[in-house]
Amino acid sequence: MKKILIVIKREYLTRVKKRSFLILTLLIPFLFIGLTALMGVIAVAGASSKKKIAVLDESKTFEQKLKNSKRLEYVFVQGRLDSLKHSLETEAYDALLYVPVFDKNGQHTSFRLFCDEQIGIETEGRIQDDLNDVVISERMKAAGITSEQMKNLQDESISLSTESIKDGKKTSNKVALATGYGCGLILYMFMLFYGMSVMRSVMEEKTNRIAEIIVSSVRPFQLMLGKIVGVALVGLTQVLIWIVLFGVFLMVGLPMMTGGMAIQQSMDPAAVNAAAQAGNSDNMAALMAVVQDTNWVMLVLWFLFYFLGGYFLYAALFAAVGSLVNEDIQESNQYTLPITIPIILGFVMMSSAIQDPNGGVAVFGSIFPLTSPIVMMARIPFGVPAWQLATSAALLILGFLGTSWMAGKIYRTGILMYGKKITLREVGKWIVRK
């Protein structure tokens, strides 16, 4: 036991003392935020630049009415279609829209859009919408409906606010979705990242040939366990740093962002609720209320449980894989595939679970131990029946006991096998024999 502690200490300290650990730990949240922001920016702005469309309108319907937008600029031109088409290459237009004379109340008509390069399906759709809007409002006008009436008719005045019947709290699918997705994603990355870290470390010990020296002093299982626990502590350290950062952000950053809200108030959920229910339509305050309502302590505890459970389950497998690899790093890919597939599968299941938290896939995925850490974490913010949580937790514990036992058998033989490539059949024999 004392020896495991010595091994744990070494594994922990060598990692935490590295400068890259601190830098990465502090950087990752910003990378996360930055990445999300970047994705948003790309979605908004990156789609397409402004397109200039030349319009040859022989029907004289659209002039003045076709409005320019952020993405589209319409320029009305005169001339013959052939020569305009010809000049499209040299002119500064992205496309030429040809509108023939047509019957506004008639059946489906097709206009023609000429372009030099592909203009993109999105732009095409926008132009079509713009044209239809003009035609529809023309028809409305003809039917005697003013644009005032029109606006009134089309106004969307209903929004949904969901309430859970269990505790009467306002639930917000958006917050639950974001929390669930975030937790699942972090677990997914942790299991892969730290699992790989364990594997690399085992491989290093094997290829450096220090494994034999160490196992002449400690049992291989102790070495493996020490390594896995040491790396887990590194991960926990990282998570704790993040939780503290997040806590500081909740306490200080968020109230500051909502502006003028006293810190005191933000710590008192009732006050915030009251404020929110008193018709305070401030979006931030509503968000605050939901943030307050979410049971963060439970969430953090479950997160730690699934983090450790999932990590131990996979780290043992990764350790076993590391012990099978010889000098050839490439070889490791072949062995890691069977392990990474369930992790990725878990991630895929999670994506479907946050859409439908109580669907069949979600329930199965959150109970099956190989995928449960990721999937269950995504479900917990939405609320999960107790029996499912209990089953999932119990199976996860059994699962990691099982994988550690199996990995121990593979590991103790694998780390001392040099030279020849180990087939999966042999590995099977190691597991089966006493």
Partner: protein, 306 residues
């Protein structure tokens, strides 16, 4: 007996790596474990160090059943394939390995420093292993093996990769440890080192013990009654019962046939009035014995099913 091995067996799927081997090692002796490549030496050592469990048989350490957990501090093991953590600082590494052998942090640091001083390594303390030359890391490896003052030191090919100067430094340390009462198992296939260092040897081949005894005894056992005599002249008549193998000026090497004695040969020459300058029995070198014993068996063991 410090170490007693009884009927040890370890079978792999494709071969009998160790097949019923027994021997004893006396306290304070330097014991040579010899054998060609693949004879089963490493497997045997791995069982003695507790890395592998034997399929059957017992290992007694100091009269009690060997248990890695309990005897970990009494053993030092330097495997043939050397290994250290490349990215770890040398001082930390020595302390870490010593602590795994059961020393307290304080003691581990003290001993490491003492050993580093003895072997002129003090300036290395904060360096990383990857910065060391091969010879230097060998030295470090040796230090980490003996740092906890083991009663039984197991060295698998300790001199491979060392230059003659460092090999001598290491040899001196081994002798010094032996004098202080450390028992040493020395596994090798380099016979000249064995003759120089060991006092007791065991030869294994194909998983079986084929020789066991002191170096002197083994040589006696394998002597072939070959003598050489140097006379003061060359025109001599040979006595009966000898078969000249080689005559080089005044030195004659011969095989003494059964029923005749060395004294008879000497008397013959003395009776002739021939002056005798030198006379000695030629004992076979361990190398010869080794080759003779191992020859004929497959150089690399065939992977036969058992």
């Amino acid at each position: 007996m410090l170490l007693s091995i009884q009927n040890l067996k370890k079978y792999y799927a494709t071969q009998r790596a160790v097949d019923d081997i027994s021997f004893d090692i006396a306290q304070g002796s330097i014991f040579g474990l010899l054998g060609p490549n693949g004879a089963g030496k490493s497997t045997l050592l791995r069982m003695i160090t507790g890395i592998f469990y034997p399929d059957s048989g017992t290992i007694l350490f100091n009269g009690e059943k060997f248990d890695q957990e309990r005897h970990v501090g009494d053993m030092g093991y330097m495997p043939e394939e050397r290994g250290l953590y490349k990215k770890m600082k040398i001082g930390e590494q020595a302390v870490y390995l010593a602590r795994l052998r059961g020393l307290s942090r304080q003691e581990a640091e003290q001993r490491s420093k003492a050993w580093f001083q003895r072997l002129d390594m003090t300036t290395w303390w904060h360096k990383k292993v990857e910065d060391l030359s091969k010879g230097m890391s060998q030295k470090l490896q040796f230090v980490t093996t003996v740092i906890h003052n083991p009663r039984l030191l197991i060295l698998d090919e300790p001199f491979s990769g060392l230059d003659p100067v460092n090999a001598n430094v290491l040899k001196d340390e081994i002798f010094r440890l032996a004098q202080e009462g450390t028992t040493i198992i020395f596994s090798t296939h380099r016979m000249e080192q064995v003759e120089e260092i060991c006092n007791h040897i065991v030869l294994v081949n194909e998983g079986k013990k084929i020789l066991d005894g002191t170096v002197k005894q083994v040589k006696q056992d394998f002597k072939e009654n070959i003598f050489s005599i140097t006379l003061d002249r060359t025109d001599v008549r040979m006595p009966e019962g000898i078969q000249v193998m080689k005559q080089q000026d005044q030195k004659i090497t011969f095989h003494l046939q059964e029923g005749y004695t060395a004294n008879g040969v000497l008397q013959h020459f003395i009776g002739q009035g021939t002056g005798i300058l030198a006379f000695e029995e030629i004992l076979p070198s361990l190398n010869d014995i080794f080759i003779r014993q191992v020859q004929g068996t497959a150089a690399a063991r065939a992977f036969d099913r058992i």
